[in-house]
Amino acid sequence: MNKRLLVPLGIFLAIAAFLFAGLSLDPREVPSPLIGKPAPQFRLAQLHDPGRTFGNDDLKGQVWLLNVWASWCVSCRIEHPLLVELARANVVPIIGLDYKDEPELGRKWLAQNGDPYRLSIVDRDGRVGIDFGVYGVPETFVVDKVGVVRYKQIGPLTADALEKKILPLVRELSKS
């Protein structure tokens, strides 16, 4: 067989391999530059108690989750039962960040769907969201005892991600 004919075949196979690998990549999942860095400083009013604030120093020494949600967010409904279940298991405190939302609507939404959060804070203009690099609600961050972001879930939590990534990570971080 003519050797020269193998060249286009080789090129084709190489391109096909790259394209095939590309099929399994999700361009919507942009790796966060925040992983391994201290969580951005914030202090915001609480959703259920607007007179009081909450900031990241309040949970120093604990592993916690920051879940970004909103009453207008459709896919938040998908992950919400998982969060409620997780809160019931009482493994890790979950802080809700009500992102670009009317506090009134946020409270109503939680009353309807269940409130898995130790507390929620209100980010009306989305500034804290920007500091956290939020671009697709819901998003979930795992923050360790010294306040460093260890993991970010973009989009709704799944049982799979929770069991395989988030919970083992929380367990490991809690030990140290």
């Binding site: 361009p27 919507r28 942009v30 790796p31 966060s32 530059p33 925040l34 670009k100 203009d125 989305g126 920007i130 500091d131 956290f132 690099g133 671009y135 697709g136």
Partner: protein
Amino acid sequence: MTRLLLLVMVMLASGYAAADTAQPTENDPLAQSRAVKLSEQLRCLVCQNQSIAESNAELALDLRRQIHEQIAAGKSDADIVDYMVARYGDFVLYRPPVRATTALLWGGPALLLVLGFFVLYRVLRTRRTAAPLPALTTDEHAQAARMLGDATEHGR
């Protein structure tokens, strides 16, 4: 070959198609043009094929506001770009930084061009140095004449 060259030229040129649709917000024309320029360089993460200048996504709106505020606060363009990269990563930049991981991205086109010229050179050289057909012997001449009939004798 001309077709290939044309293709290469079209591919190179397509990068220059730019859009300029930003919200007019500031009175200061210089700050305004800086804001527009910056927001054109940054990718909106919600609709990833649009810049912050083009996108009407809620987030793009917020980020445009951030840019305006930071310009007003006297931040330099580099500061503002760093601010975005610190939050959203290199992905927000339409022009990715030159790094070890992006070397192929930046060098790839030049590499392909060099490779193309190399192949062109090889093809042209083999064509030029191809041995000319050996002259026919008298016997072969006679054979050819027989096969072609009279045509070769009286033809051109």
